[in-house]
Protein backbone atom coordinates (compact mmCIF):
# COMPACT_ATOMS: atom_id res chain seq x y z
CA UNK A 1 0.00 0.00 0.00
CA UNK A 2 1.22 3.45 -0.82
CA UNK A 3 1.28 5.54 2.31
CA UNK A 4 -0.66 8.70 2.98
CA UNK A 5 2.27 11.00 3.38
CA UNK A 6 5.27 10.77 1.07
CA UNK A 7 8.06 9.38 3.17
CA UNK A 8 10.32 12.42 3.20
CA UNK A 9 11.69 11.64 6.63
CA UNK A 10 12.47 7.96 6.28
CA UNK A 11 14.21 7.82 2.93
CA UNK A 12 16.61 4.89 2.63
CA UNK A 13 20.30 5.70 2.39
CA UNK A 14 20.33 5.43 -1.40
CA UNK A 15 17.51 7.92 -1.56
CA UNK A 16 19.36 10.32 0.72
CA UNK A 17 22.47 10.17 -1.42
CA UNK A 18 20.30 10.72 -4.45
CA UNK A 19 18.60 13.76 -2.97
CA UNK A 20 21.96 15.22 -1.96
CA UNK A 21 23.32 14.72 -5.47
CA UNK A 22 20.19 16.23 -6.98
CA UNK A 23 20.43 19.18 -4.59
CA UNK A 24 23.98 19.71 -5.87
CA UNK A 25 22.57 19.87 -9.40
CA UNK A 26 23.91 16.45 -10.36
CA UNK A 27 21.28 14.26 -11.93
CA UNK A 28 21.69 10.53 -12.64
CA UNK A 29 21.21 11.27 -16.30
CA UNK A 30 24.23 13.56 -16.22
CA UNK A 31 26.37 10.60 -15.15
CA UNK A 32 25.01 8.45 -17.97
CA UNK A 33 25.93 11.12 -20.48
CA UNK A 34 29.24 11.99 -18.87
CA UNK A 35 30.90 8.56 -18.86
CA UNK A 36 30.87 7.89 -22.63
CA UNK A 37 31.30 11.60 -23.30
CA UNK A 38 34.50 11.83 -21.29
CA UNK A 39 35.79 8.56 -22.67
CA UNK A 40 35.38 9.68 -26.27
CA UNK A 41 36.86 13.08 -25.46
CA UNK A 42 40.00 11.52 -24.00
CA UNK A 43 40.44 8.70 -26.49
CA UNK A 44 39.06 10.25 -29.65
CA UNK A 45 39.03 14.04 -29.57
CA UNK A 46 42.28 14.58 -27.69
CA UNK A 47 44.23 12.17 -29.95
CA UNK A 48 42.92 14.05 -32.97
CA UNK A 49 44.15 17.32 -31.46
CA UNK A 50 47.53 15.76 -30.65
CA UNK A 51 47.97 14.45 -34.17
CA UNK A 52 47.11 17.88 -35.53
CA UNK A 53 49.56 19.52 -33.16
CA UNK A 54 52.42 17.20 -34.07
CA UNK A 55 51.74 17.61 -37.78
CA UNK A 56 53.00 21.20 -37.47
CA UNK A 57 56.18 20.24 -35.59
CA UNK A 58 59.56 19.25 -36.96
CA UNK A 59 61.41 16.06 -36.33
CA UNK A 60 64.36 16.19 -33.94
CA UNK A 61 66.54 13.55 -32.41
CA UNK A 62 65.17 13.65 -28.89
CA UNK A 63 62.48 12.16 -26.71
CA UNK A 64 59.81 12.78 -27.93
CA UNK A 65 61.23 13.03 -31.45
CA UNK A 66 59.57 16.30 -32.45
CA UNK A 67 59.77 19.96 -31.57
CA UNK A 68 57.45 21.33 -28.90
CA UNK A 69 54.49 23.52 -29.83
CA UNK A 70 55.60 26.46 -27.74
CA UNK A 71 58.81 27.73 -26.24
CA UNK A 72 62.23 28.58 -27.65
CA UNK A 73 62.62 25.28 -29.52
CA UNK A 74 59.25 25.50 -31.23
CA UNK A 75 58.92 25.70 -35.00
CA UNK A 76 59.29 29.21 -36.44
CA UNK A 77 56.01 30.56 -37.77
CA UNK A 78 57.13 30.63 -41.37
CA UNK A 79 57.97 26.91 -41.22
CA UNK A 80 54.70 25.78 -39.62
CA UNK A 81 53.29 24.40 -42.84
CA UNK A 82 56.51 22.87 -44.10
CA UNK A 83 55.25 19.32 -43.62
CA UNK A 84 52.13 20.04 -45.61
CA UNK A 85 54.13 21.80 -48.32
CA UNK A 86 56.23 18.66 -48.64
CA UNK A 87 53.08 16.68 -49.40
CA UNK A 88 52.78 18.66 -52.63
CA UNK A 89 56.46 18.89 -53.44
CA UNK A 90 57.60 15.32 -52.88
CA UNK A 91 56.20 12.99 -55.51
CA UNK A 92 56.27 10.13 -52.99
CA UNK A 93 53.38 11.74 -51.14
CA UNK A 94 51.12 13.12 -53.82
CA UNK A 95 51.49 9.99 -55.92
CA UNK A 96 50.52 7.92 -52.91
CA UNK A 97 47.41 10.07 -52.42
CA UNK A 98 46.49 9.78 -56.09
CA UNK A 99 47.02 6.02 -56.06
CA UNK A 100 44.91 5.58 -52.95
CA UNK A 101 42.09 7.78 -54.25
CA UNK A 102 42.19 5.92 -57.55
CA UNK A 103 42.02 2.57 -55.83
CA UNK A 104 39.18 3.70 -53.58
CA UNK A 105 37.18 5.32 -56.35
CA UNK A 106 37.31 2.48 -58.88
CA UNK A 107 36.86 -0.19 -56.23
CA UNK A 108 33.73 1.64 -55.07
CA UNK A 109 32.47 1.76 -58.64
CA UNK A 110 33.10 -1.96 -59.19
CA UNK A 111 31.47 -2.78 -55.83
CA UNK A 112 28.41 -0.82 -56.93
CA UNK A 113 28.25 -2.58 -60.30
CA UNK A 114 28.46 -6.03 -58.69
CA UNK A 115 26.58 -5.17 -55.51
CA UNK A 116 23.55 -3.46 -57.00
CA UNK A 117 22.23 -6.43 -59.02
CA UNK A 118 22.98 -8.71 -56.09
CA UNK A 119 21.15 -6.52 -53.57
CA UNK A 120 18.30 -6.13 -56.03
CA UNK A 121 18.11 -9.89 -56.57
CA UNK A 122 18.13 -10.64 -52.84
CA UNK A 123 15.46 -8.04 -52.13
CA UNK A 124 13.17 -9.61 -54.73
CA UNK A 125 13.51 -13.17 -53.38
CA UNK A 126 10.92 -14.84 -51.15
CA UNK A 127 11.39 -13.94 -47.46
CA UNK A 128 12.93 -17.27 -46.43
CA UNK A 129 15.45 -17.31 -49.31
CA UNK A 130 16.15 -13.68 -48.56
CA UNK A 131 17.12 -14.42 -44.96
CA UNK A 132 19.43 -17.19 -46.11
CA UNK A 133 21.16 -15.10 -48.78
CA UNK A 134 21.52 -12.21 -46.40
CA UNK A 135 23.19 -14.50 -43.91
CA UNK A 136 25.54 -15.59 -46.68
CA UNK A 137 26.45 -11.94 -47.31
CA UNK A 138 27.04 -11.21 -43.64
CA UNK A 139 28.95 -14.41 -42.88
CA UNK A 140 32.26 -13.32 -44.45
CA UNK A 141 32.04 -10.13 -42.40
CA UNK A 142 32.24 -12.19 -39.20
CA UNK A 143 35.21 -14.22 -40.42
CA UNK A 144 38.67 -12.76 -40.30
CA UNK A 145 39.28 -10.02 -42.82
CA UNK A 146 42.98 -10.82 -42.86
CA UNK A 147 42.40 -14.45 -43.74
CA UNK A 148 40.14 -13.55 -46.61
CA UNK A 149 42.75 -11.20 -48.07
CA UNK A 150 45.41 -13.85 -47.54
CA UNK A 151 43.30 -16.35 -49.51
CA UNK A 152 43.72 -14.21 -52.61
CA UNK A 153 47.44 -14.24 -52.22
CA UNK A 154 47.67 -17.92 -53.09
CA UNK A 155 44.86 -17.78 -55.63
CA UNK A 156 46.47 -14.99 -57.65
CA UNK A 157 50.03 -16.23 -57.43
CA UNK A 158 51.93 -17.49 -60.46
CA UNK A 159 51.05 -21.10 -59.63
CA UNK A 160 47.67 -20.23 -58.18
CA UNK A 161 44.19 -21.40 -59.03
CA UNK A 162 43.43 -18.57 -61.45
CA UNK A 163 46.48 -19.23 -63.57
CA UNK A 164 45.96 -23.00 -63.40
CA UNK A 165 42.42 -22.53 -64.63
CA UNK A 166 43.31 -20.15 -67.45
CA UNK A 167 46.27 -22.31 -68.56
CA UNK A 168 44.17 -25.45 -68.38
CA UNK A 169 41.45 -23.90 -70.53
CA UNK A 170 44.05 -22.81 -73.00
CA UNK A 171 43.13 -19.14 -72.74
CA UNK A 172 46.69 -18.18 -71.94
CA UNK A 173 50.05 -19.80 -72.65
CA UNK A 174 52.10 -18.07 -70.02
CA UNK A 175 51.05 -17.64 -66.37
CA UNK A 176 49.76 -14.12 -65.75
CA UNK A 177 51.39 -11.85 -63.23
CA UNK A 178 48.45 -10.77 -61.13
CA UNK A 179 49.76 -10.85 -57.59
CA UNK A 180 51.69 -7.71 -56.65
CA UNK A 181 49.99 -5.65 -59.36
CA UNK A 182 47.32 -2.96 -58.97
CA UNK A 183 44.78 -5.48 -60.29
CA UNK A 184 45.37 -7.68 -57.26
CA UNK A 185 44.69 -4.71 -54.97
CA UNK A 186 41.45 -3.89 -56.76
CA UNK A 187 40.34 -7.48 -56.39
CA UNK A 188 41.27 -7.45 -52.70
CA UNK A 189 39.45 -4.19 -51.94
CA UNK A 190 36.33 -5.13 -53.91
CA UNK A 191 36.26 -8.55 -52.27
CA UNK A 192 36.66 -7.15 -48.76
CA UNK A 193 34.18 -4.30 -49.00
CA UNK A 194 31.48 -5.81 -51.25
CA UNK A 195 29.23 -6.73 -48.27
CA UNK A 196 29.41 -3.08 -47.07
CA UNK A 197 27.95 -2.06 -50.43
CA UNK A 198 25.30 -4.76 -50.59
CA UNK A 199 23.84 -4.35 -47.09
CA UNK A 200 22.72 -0.70 -47.24
CA UNK A 201 21.55 -1.21 -50.82
CA UNK A 202 19.55 -4.23 -49.79
CA UNK A 203 18.05 -2.39 -46.80
CA UNK A 204 16.92 0.33 -49.17
CA UNK A 205 15.63 -1.88 -52.00
CA UNK A 206 13.85 -4.24 -49.63
CA UNK A 207 11.52 -1.60 -48.26
CA UNK A 208 10.81 -0.08 -51.65
CA UNK A 209 7.13 -0.02 -52.49
CA UNK A 210 6.63 -2.42 -55.40
CA UNK A 211 3.31 -0.83 -56.23
CA UNK A 212 5.28 2.13 -57.55
CA UNK A 213 6.66 -0.10 -60.29
CA UNK A 214 3.20 -1.49 -60.89
CA UNK A 215 1.90 2.04 -61.19
CA UNK A 216 4.66 2.82 -63.67
CA UNK A 217 3.85 -0.30 -65.70
CA UNK A 218 0.20 0.62 -65.55
CA UNK A 219 1.04 4.03 -66.97
CA UNK A 220 2.80 2.35 -69.87
CA UNK A 221 6.40 2.39 -68.69
CA UNK A 222 8.59 -0.49 -69.86
CA UNK A 223 10.41 -2.46 -67.14
CA UNK A 224 13.91 -1.28 -68.02
CA UNK A 225 12.78 2.32 -68.18
CA UNK A 226 10.87 1.94 -64.91
CA UNK A 227 14.06 0.62 -63.34
CA UNK A 228 16.01 3.65 -64.53
CA UNK A 229 13.49 6.35 -63.66
CA UNK A 230 12.02 4.85 -60.47
CA UNK A 231 14.12 2.16 -58.84
CA UNK A 232 17.52 3.80 -59.20
CA UNK A 233 16.49 7.31 -58.07
CA UNK A 234 14.62 5.89 -55.09
CA UNK A 235 17.58 3.75 -54.08
CA UNK A 236 19.94 6.72 -54.20
CA UNK A 237 20.24 6.92 -50.39
CA UNK A 238 21.31 3.27 -50.35
CA UNK A 239 23.80 3.85 -53.16
CA UNK A 240 25.30 6.84 -51.34
CA UNK A 241 25.54 5.00 -48.01
CA UNK A 242 27.11 1.93 -49.61
CA UNK A 243 29.54 3.97 -51.70
CA UNK A 244 30.71 5.95 -48.67
CA UNK A 245 31.09 2.79 -46.59
CA UNK A 246 33.42 1.38 -49.26
CA UNK A 247 35.21 4.56 -50.29
CA UNK A 248 36.16 5.94 -46.87
CA UNK A 249 38.00 2.90 -45.46
CA UNK A 250 39.46 2.02 -48.87
CA UNK A 251 41.36 5.34 -49.04
CA UNK A 252 43.30 4.58 -45.87
CA UNK A 253 43.64 0.86 -46.59
CA UNK A 254 46.94 -0.57 -45.35
CA UNK A 255 46.70 -4.35 -45.18
CA UNK A 256 45.51 -5.08 -48.73
CA UNK A 257 48.27 -3.10 -50.51
CA UNK A 258 50.77 -4.59 -48.09
CA UNK A 259 49.74 -8.19 -48.82
CA UNK A 260 48.58 -8.08 -52.43
CA UNK A 261 50.19 -4.94 -53.83
CA UNK A 262 53.77 -5.97 -53.32
CA UNK A 263 56.71 -3.90 -52.09
CA UNK A 264 56.30 -1.23 -54.74
CA UNK A 265 52.68 -0.41 -54.10
CA UNK A 266 52.65 3.22 -53.03
CA UNK A 267 49.56 3.70 -50.92
CA UNK A 268 48.89 6.40 -48.40
CA UNK A 269 48.07 4.09 -45.50
CA UNK A 270 51.44 2.45 -46.00
CA UNK A 271 53.23 5.79 -46.20
CA UNK A 272 51.91 6.72 -42.73
CA UNK A 273 53.19 3.47 -41.26
CA UNK A 274 56.56 3.75 -42.99
CA UNK A 275 57.07 7.35 -41.90
CA UNK A 276 56.27 6.45 -38.34
CA UNK A 277 57.88 3.06 -37.83
CA UNK A 278 60.74 3.09 -40.36
CA UNK A 279 61.76 6.76 -40.55
CA UNK A 280 60.60 7.64 -37.01
CA UNK A 281 59.37 10.91 -38.50
CA UNK A 282 56.37 11.54 -36.27
CA UNK A 283 55.54 15.02 -37.59
CA UNK A 284 55.53 13.85 -41.20
CA UNK A 285 53.44 10.76 -40.38
CA UNK A 286 50.96 13.03 -38.57
CA UNK A 287 50.85 15.47 -41.47
CA UNK A 288 50.15 12.65 -43.93
CA UNK A 289 47.36 11.36 -41.65
CA UNK A 290 45.86 14.83 -41.18
CA UNK A 291 45.85 15.27 -44.95
CA UNK A 292 43.93 11.99 -45.37
CA UNK A 293 41.39 13.32 -42.91
CA UNK A 294 41.10 16.60 -44.82
CA UNK A 295 40.44 14.67 -48.04
CA UNK A 296 37.87 12.47 -46.33
CA UNK A 297 36.17 15.20 -44.34
CA UNK A 298 33.48 15.78 -46.96
CA UNK A 299 32.64 12.07 -47.45
CA UNK A 300 32.65 11.54 -43.68
CA UNK A 301 30.37 14.51 -43.05
CA UNK A 302 28.10 13.26 -45.82
CA UNK A 303 27.95 9.85 -44.21
CA UNK A 304 27.22 11.33 -40.78
CA UNK A 305 24.47 13.43 -42.31
CA UNK A 306 22.79 10.47 -44.01
CA UNK A 307 23.30 8.26 -40.96
CA UNK A 308 21.69 10.94 -38.80
CA UNK A 309 18.74 11.19 -41.17
CA UNK A 310 18.33 7.40 -41.20
CA UNK A 311 18.35 7.32 -37.38
CA UNK A 312 15.72 10.03 -37.06
CA UNK A 313 13.46 8.67 -39.79
CA UNK A 314 11.85 5.58 -38.17
CA UNK A 315 9.81 7.37 -35.54
Amino acid sequence: MASDVPQQTSLPLGGQIRSILIALGFKPRTAVILVPYLWLTIFFVVPCIIILKISFAQTVIAQPPYTPMFGPESVPHDQLFDNFKRLFQDSLYYKAYLNSLNLAFFSTLICLLIGYPMAYGIARCSPSTRALLLLAIILPFWTSFLIRVYAWKSILSKEGVVNDLLLGLGIIDEPLLILYTPAAMYIGVVYTYLPFMILPLYANLEKMDLSLLEAAADLGCRPLKAFCVITIPLSLPGIIAGALLVFIPAVGEYVIPELLGGPNALMIGKVVADEFFQNRDWPMASAVAVAILIILVIPIMAFQYFQGKAQEAPK
Binding site: V32, I51, W152, I155, Y254, Q307
Partner: protein
Protein backbone atom coordinates in the same frame (compact mmCIF):
# COMPACT_ATOMS: atom_id res chain seq x y z
CA UNK B 1 4.50 -7.65 -61.19
CA UNK B 2 6.58 -10.54 -62.43
CA UNK B 3 8.10 -12.30 -59.44
CA UNK B 4 10.73 -14.00 -61.58
CA UNK B 5 14.18 -12.52 -61.54
CA UNK B 6 15.68 -11.65 -64.86
CA UNK B 7 18.52 -13.89 -66.08
CA UNK B 8 20.95 -11.01 -65.60
CA UNK B 9 20.15 -10.58 -61.90
CA UNK B 10 20.27 -14.32 -61.40
CA UNK B 11 23.65 -14.56 -63.11
CA UNK B 12 25.02 -11.73 -60.99
CA UNK B 13 23.82 -13.45 -57.83
CA UNK B 14 25.53 -16.70 -58.81
CA UNK B 15 28.76 -15.00 -59.85
CA UNK B 16 28.70 -12.70 -56.81
CA UNK B 17 28.37 -15.52 -54.35
CA UNK B 18 31.00 -17.53 -56.22
CA UNK B 19 33.28 -14.51 -55.88
CA UNK B 20 32.55 -14.20 -52.15
CA UNK B 21 32.95 -17.87 -51.31
CA UNK B 22 35.44 -19.14 -53.92
CA UNK B 23 38.55 -17.96 -52.09
CA UNK B 24 37.28 -19.44 -48.84
CA UNK B 25 36.72 -22.81 -50.50
CA UNK B 26 40.21 -22.70 -52.02
CA UNK B 27 41.72 -21.79 -48.66
CA UNK B 28 39.95 -24.59 -46.83
CA UNK B 29 40.85 -27.21 -49.43
CA UNK B 30 44.52 -26.18 -49.42
CA UNK B 31 44.63 -26.70 -45.68
CA UNK B 32 44.30 -30.43 -46.44
CA UNK B 33 47.08 -30.33 -49.03
CA UNK B 34 50.01 -32.57 -48.22
CA UNK B 35 52.41 -30.52 -50.32
CA UNK B 36 54.38 -27.85 -48.50
CA UNK B 37 54.32 -25.74 -51.63
CA UNK B 38 50.67 -25.10 -51.20
CA UNK B 39 49.89 -24.25 -54.79
CA UNK B 40 50.67 -27.78 -55.93
CA UNK B 41 48.26 -30.48 -54.87
CA UNK B 42 50.14 -33.25 -53.11
CA UNK B 43 47.31 -35.41 -51.89
CA UNK B 44 44.94 -35.19 -48.92
CA UNK B 45 46.49 -34.73 -45.51
CA UNK B 46 45.62 -33.31 -42.13
CA UNK B 47 49.19 -32.99 -41.05
CA UNK B 48 49.17 -29.19 -40.76
CA UNK B 49 46.63 -29.22 -37.98
CA UNK B 50 48.75 -30.99 -35.33
CA UNK B 51 51.69 -28.81 -36.26
CA UNK B 52 49.51 -25.74 -35.82
CA UNK B 53 48.10 -26.85 -32.49
CA UNK B 54 51.57 -27.50 -31.12
CA UNK B 55 52.85 -24.11 -32.17
CA UNK B 56 53.44 -22.22 -28.94
CA UNK B 57 53.46 -18.82 -30.68
CA UNK B 58 50.07 -19.41 -32.31
CA UNK B 59 48.51 -20.55 -29.05
CA UNK B 60 49.86 -17.56 -27.13
CA UNK B 61 48.71 -15.14 -29.79
CA UNK B 62 45.25 -16.74 -29.81
CA UNK B 63 45.05 -16.45 -26.04
CA UNK B 64 46.09 -12.79 -26.17
CA UNK B 65 43.52 -12.08 -28.84
CA UNK B 66 40.74 -13.65 -26.82
CA UNK B 67 41.67 -11.80 -23.65
CA UNK B 68 41.84 -8.47 -25.47
CA UNK B 69 38.60 -9.10 -27.35
CA UNK B 70 36.65 -10.27 -24.30
CA UNK B 71 37.76 -7.42 -22.03
CA UNK B 72 37.39 -4.68 -24.62
CA UNK B 73 34.01 -6.01 -25.84
CA UNK B 74 32.69 -5.99 -22.29
CA UNK B 75 33.72 -2.41 -21.60
CA UNK B 76 32.62 -1.32 -25.07
CA UNK B 77 29.20 -2.88 -24.47
CA UNK B 78 28.72 -1.02 -21.19
CA UNK B 79 29.76 2.30 -22.70
CA UNK B 80 28.01 1.72 -26.00
CA UNK B 81 24.78 0.87 -24.19
CA UNK B 82 25.04 4.08 -22.21
CA UNK B 83 25.80 6.15 -25.30
CA UNK B 84 23.01 4.49 -27.28
CA UNK B 85 20.57 5.14 -24.43
CA UNK B 86 21.62 8.78 -24.27
CA UNK B 87 21.23 9.29 -28.01
CA UNK B 88 17.86 7.54 -28.20
CA UNK B 89 16.34 9.07 -25.06
CA UNK B 90 17.78 12.44 -24.30
CA UNK B 91 16.51 14.48 -27.21
CA UNK B 92 17.95 17.69 -25.87
CA UNK B 93 21.07 18.34 -23.85
CA UNK B 94 24.05 20.61 -24.20
CA UNK B 95 26.47 19.15 -26.68
CA UNK B 96 24.16 16.53 -28.15
CA UNK B 97 25.32 17.25 -31.69
CA UNK B 98 28.97 17.02 -30.66
CA UNK B 99 28.25 13.83 -28.76
CA UNK B 100 26.53 12.06 -31.63
CA UNK B 101 29.33 13.17 -33.95
CA UNK B 102 31.94 11.82 -31.54
CA UNK B 103 30.13 8.51 -31.28
CA UNK B 104 29.81 7.85 -34.99
CA UNK B 105 33.10 9.35 -36.15
CA UNK B 106 35.27 6.36 -35.14
CA UNK B 107 33.05 4.21 -37.39
CA UNK B 108 34.19 6.02 -40.50
CA UNK B 109 37.62 7.16 -39.37
CA UNK B 110 40.34 5.39 -41.41
CA UNK B 111 42.05 2.90 -39.15
CA UNK B 112 45.52 4.27 -39.77
CA UNK B 113 44.48 7.61 -38.34
CA UNK B 114 42.74 6.13 -35.30
CA UNK B 115 45.74 3.91 -34.65
CA UNK B 116 48.35 6.60 -35.09
CA UNK B 117 46.46 9.20 -33.06
CA UNK B 118 45.94 6.79 -30.16
CA UNK B 119 49.58 5.81 -30.23
CA UNK B 120 50.56 9.48 -30.11
CA UNK B 121 48.14 10.00 -27.20
CA UNK B 122 49.75 7.17 -25.24
CA UNK B 123 53.25 8.50 -25.95
CA UNK B 124 52.15 11.96 -24.87
CA UNK B 125 50.50 10.64 -21.70
CA UNK B 126 53.65 8.73 -20.91
CA UNK B 127 55.71 11.92 -21.19
CA UNK B 128 53.34 13.87 -19.00
CA UNK B 129 52.20 11.43 -16.29
CA UNK B 130 54.60 8.54 -16.77
CA UNK B 131 51.88 6.17 -17.92
CA UNK B 132 51.34 3.81 -19.79
CA UNK B 133 55.15 3.43 -19.92
CA UNK B 134 55.04 0.96 -22.80
CA UNK B 135 52.54 -0.41 -25.26
CA UNK B 136 50.82 -3.66 -24.38
CA UNK B 137 47.53 -5.16 -23.22
CA UNK B 138 46.31 -1.97 -21.56
CA UNK B 139 46.84 0.28 -24.56
CA UNK B 140 45.40 -2.20 -27.06
CA UNK B 141 42.34 -2.73 -24.90
CA UNK B 142 41.79 1.01 -24.47
CA UNK B 143 42.08 1.46 -28.22
CA UNK B 144 39.73 -1.40 -28.99
CA UNK B 145 37.11 -0.17 -26.52
CA UNK B 146 37.17 3.23 -28.17
CA UNK B 147 36.41 2.12 -31.70
CA UNK B 148 34.20 -0.88 -30.96
CA UNK B 149 31.96 1.07 -28.58
CA UNK B 150 30.79 3.05 -31.58
CA UNK B 151 29.44 -0.12 -33.17
CA UNK B 152 27.68 -1.09 -29.96
CA UNK B 153 26.25 2.42 -29.75
CA UNK B 154 24.68 2.13 -33.19
CA UNK B 155 23.13 -1.24 -32.29
CA UNK B 156 21.82 -0.01 -28.95
CA UNK B 157 20.59 3.34 -30.24
CA UNK B 158 18.39 1.66 -32.80
CA UNK B 159 17.15 -0.81 -30.17
CA UNK B 160 16.33 1.92 -27.65
CA UNK B 161 14.64 4.09 -30.23
CA UNK B 162 11.96 1.41 -30.77
CA UNK B 163 11.69 0.61 -27.05
CA UNK B 164 8.19 1.18 -25.68
CA UNK B 165 8.73 3.92 -23.10
CA UNK B 166 5.48 3.11 -21.35
CA UNK B 167 7.10 -0.10 -20.03
CA UNK B 168 9.54 1.98 -18.03
CA UNK B 169 6.83 4.37 -16.97
CA UNK B 170 4.72 1.42 -15.80
CA UNK B 171 7.58 0.18 -13.63
CA UNK B 172 8.11 3.64 -12.12
CA UNK B 173 4.39 3.91 -11.58
CA UNK B 174 4.39 0.61 -9.71
CA UNK B 175 7.02 1.91 -7.32
CA UNK B 176 10.35 0.87 -8.84
CA UNK B 177 13.06 3.51 -8.66
CA UNK B 178 14.78 4.55 -11.90
CA UNK B 179 17.86 2.35 -11.39
CA UNK B 180 15.73 -0.67 -10.46
CA UNK B 181 13.53 0.03 -13.46
CA UNK B 182 16.55 0.00 -15.71
CA UNK B 183 17.93 -3.21 -14.24
CA UNK B 184 14.64 -5.13 -13.99
CA UNK B 185 12.75 -3.91 -17.03
CA UNK B 186 14.87 -2.10 -19.60
CA UNK B 187 17.98 -4.26 -19.50
CA UNK B 188 16.28 -7.69 -19.68
CA UNK B 189 14.13 -6.55 -22.59
CA UNK B 190 17.04 -5.18 -24.61
CA UNK B 191 19.30 -8.09 -23.57
CA UNK B 192 19.34 -9.70 -27.05
CA UNK B 193 20.59 -6.42 -28.53
CA UNK B 194 23.21 -6.17 -25.77
CA UNK B 195 24.40 -9.69 -26.59
CA UNK B 196 24.63 -8.97 -30.30
CA UNK B 197 26.40 -5.71 -29.52
CA UNK B 198 28.92 -7.59 -27.41
CA UNK B 199 29.45 -10.21 -30.11
CA UNK B 200 29.96 -7.49 -32.68
CA UNK B 201 32.51 -5.71 -30.50
CA UNK B 202 34.20 -9.02 -29.73
CA UNK B 203 34.49 -9.97 -33.40
CA UNK B 204 35.72 -6.54 -34.44
CA UNK B 205 38.38 -6.59 -31.74
CA UNK B 206 39.40 -10.13 -32.61
CA UNK B 207 39.71 -9.20 -36.26
CA UNK B 208 41.48 -5.88 -35.93
CA UNK B 209 44.98 -5.57 -37.24
CA UNK B 210 45.81 -1.98 -38.11
CA UNK B 211 44.89 -0.28 -34.84
CA UNK B 212 46.52 -3.14 -32.96
CA UNK B 213 49.74 -2.74 -34.95
CA UNK B 214 49.96 0.87 -33.77
CA UNK B 215 48.95 0.44 -30.16
CA UNK B 216 50.37 -2.95 -29.22
CA UNK B 217 53.79 -3.74 -27.87
CA UNK B 218 55.91 -6.85 -27.52
CA UNK B 219 54.56 -9.67 -25.39
CA UNK B 220 50.91 -9.17 -26.19
CA UNK B 221 50.90 -9.89 -29.92
CA UNK B 222 47.51 -10.90 -31.27
CA UNK B 223 46.57 -13.60 -33.72
CA UNK B 224 46.07 -11.20 -36.64
CA UNK B 225 49.49 -9.72 -35.92
CA UNK B 226 51.04 -13.17 -36.02
CA UNK B 227 49.22 -14.14 -39.20
CA UNK B 228 50.18 -10.85 -40.80
CA UNK B 229 53.87 -11.25 -40.07
CA UNK B 230 53.88 -14.85 -41.30
CA UNK B 231 51.91 -14.06 -44.44
CA UNK B 232 54.09 -11.09 -45.24
CA UNK B 233 57.11 -13.34 -45.25
CA UNK B 234 55.48 -15.83 -47.61
CA UNK B 235 52.92 -18.59 -47.69
CA UNK B 236 52.77 -21.00 -44.81
CA UNK B 237 50.54 -24.10 -44.90
CA UNK B 238 49.78 -23.92 -41.17
CA UNK B 239 48.09 -20.57 -41.81
CA UNK B 240 45.64 -22.38 -44.10
CA UNK B 241 44.85 -24.76 -41.28
CA UNK B 242 44.44 -21.87 -38.85
CA UNK B 243 42.21 -20.03 -41.31
CA UNK B 244 40.07 -23.14 -41.77
CA UNK B 245 39.67 -23.49 -38.01
CA UNK B 246 38.67 -19.86 -37.61
CA UNK B 247 36.21 -20.00 -40.52
CA UNK B 248 34.61 -23.20 -39.23
CA UNK B 249 34.29 -21.80 -35.74
CA UNK B 250 32.77 -18.50 -36.82
CA UNK B 251 30.50 -20.00 -39.46
CA UNK B 252 29.07 -22.61 -37.11
CA UNK B 253 28.55 -19.93 -34.45
CA UNK B 254 26.76 -17.58 -36.80
CA UNK B 255 24.65 -20.32 -38.39
CA UNK B 256 23.67 -21.84 -35.03
CA UNK B 257 22.59 -18.50 -33.65
CA UNK B 258 20.65 -17.83 -36.83
CA UNK B 259 18.80 -21.15 -36.52
CA UNK B 260 18.10 -20.59 -32.84
CA UNK B 261 16.76 -17.12 -33.50
CA UNK B 262 14.56 -18.30 -36.36
CA UNK B 263 13.18 -21.09 -34.19
CA UNK B 264 12.36 -18.93 -31.20
CA UNK B 265 10.70 -16.40 -33.49
CA UNK B 266 8.61 -19.18 -35.04
CA UNK B 267 7.61 -20.45 -31.58
CA UNK B 268 6.65 -16.92 -30.61
CA UNK B 269 4.51 -16.50 -33.68
CA UNK B 270 2.79 -19.81 -32.94
CA UNK B 271 2.08 -18.70 -29.35
CA UNK B 272 0.52 -15.49 -30.62
CA UNK B 273 -1.65 -17.40 -33.09
CA UNK B 274 -2.72 -19.79 -30.36
CA UNK B 275 -3.59 -16.98 -27.97
CA UNK B 276 -5.80 -15.41 -30.60
CA UNK B 277 -7.58 -18.66 -31.42
CA UNK B 278 -8.33 -19.56 -27.81
CA UNK B 279 -10.08 -16.30 -27.24
CA UNK B 280 -12.34 -16.54 -30.25
Amino acid sequence: MNKRLSWFVLLMLVLGFAFLYGPIVVLVSYSFNDNKLMTLWGGFSTRWYPILLQDEAVLTAAKNSFIIAAVSATFATVQGTMAGYVLARYRKFHGRVAFSGMVTAPLVMPEVITGLSLLLLFKQLDDVIGWPDRMGFTTVILAHITFSMSYVTVVMQSRFSVFDMSLEEAALDLGARPLKTFLLITLPIVAPAVVSGWLLAFTISLDDLVITLYTNGPGSGTLPQLIFSKVRRGVDPTINALATLIITLVASGVITSHILMTRSEKRRQRDIQLALQINK
